[in-house]
């Protein structure tokens, strides 16, 4: 499961429970230009059940979380920081960069 791997790699890189939540906000913003809440509202998905989102949306998350997990696995042991917050921010930056790259390959890329 892509999502599980994604959360596992965040943890393996030192991210805490907040790092995951930051990552969700970040990937949603970069992939869909909106917030999670809006995404459910605009697509008619049942909040907040991911499997009720349109297939294209679910696939975009799946692809992005898989690629982000690969990237985070590659970086394991290199992400440091003076505080938990710094570590979380670095993980967030990796997810943001990957999400930007993923977005370029999606049908709705600008």
């Amino acid at each position: 499961m892509a999502f599980r791997r994604f959360t596992d790699t965040i943890k393996a890189n030192g991210g805490d429970d907040e790092a995951y939540r930051q990552a969700v906000i970040t990937e949603t913003e970069e992939l869909f230009d909106c917030e999670v809440r809006e995404l459910y509202r605009l697509t008619g998905g049942k909040p907040n059940k991911r499997h009720t989102l349109p297939h294209e949306v679910q696939q975009a998350y799946m692809v992005n979380e898989t690629l982000s997990a690969y990237e985070l696995e590659r970086m394991e042991g290199t992400i440091g920081g003076e505080s938990q917050q710094e570590v979380n921010d670095r993980i967030d930056a990796v997810v943001r960069e990957q999400s930007k790259q993923t977005r370029k390959r999606l049908p709705w890329a600008k």
């Binding site: 429970d17 939540r21 906000i25 970069e30 999670v36 809440r37 909040p47 998350y61």
Partner: protein, 165 residues
Amino acid sequence: MGNAKLLVAMKLSELKKRVRRTWDILNRCHGIVLQPENFNKEMATFGDRRYKKTWVKALCKFEAMFAYKSCLDSWMLLTNTFAFRPERWDYEYRHQIFEEFLMYPDALELIKSGLEDLFDKDFDIKEREKADDFFGLLEEREGQAGTLGFSARLVGQLEGAIAAA
């Protein structure tokens, strides 16, 4: 074993940093904090900034907002967001954060939806175990004077959702 951190209340300086950080996360757009000058204006709505209680109020409000805003999968509220463990920095304020979250009109729906997923037969057992700390939070609420009525109702509704799942 007890955690020494538990006994130490968060200092005001640390509290202020936490409030600012969560506010920044909530107001970030494509990696940039939008209108950082609004932080002071928003803080003024919580009361006198010289008092710790003002900052606690702000922290709990912003943390609840963060929980709400990042909720892509409602079951993650139970296994991650509100699965408060003593080693977490926000453990001290767990009840107030959860209380603030419950102010959202659909908060209970989200939790019920999370429970449905959590008790689905295909749900990963190990993942489900992570929600133990969430149930611990509910149990603690039961023991708190003053919240008993509401909490008993909440637990009753949640039990209904568990039975239905």
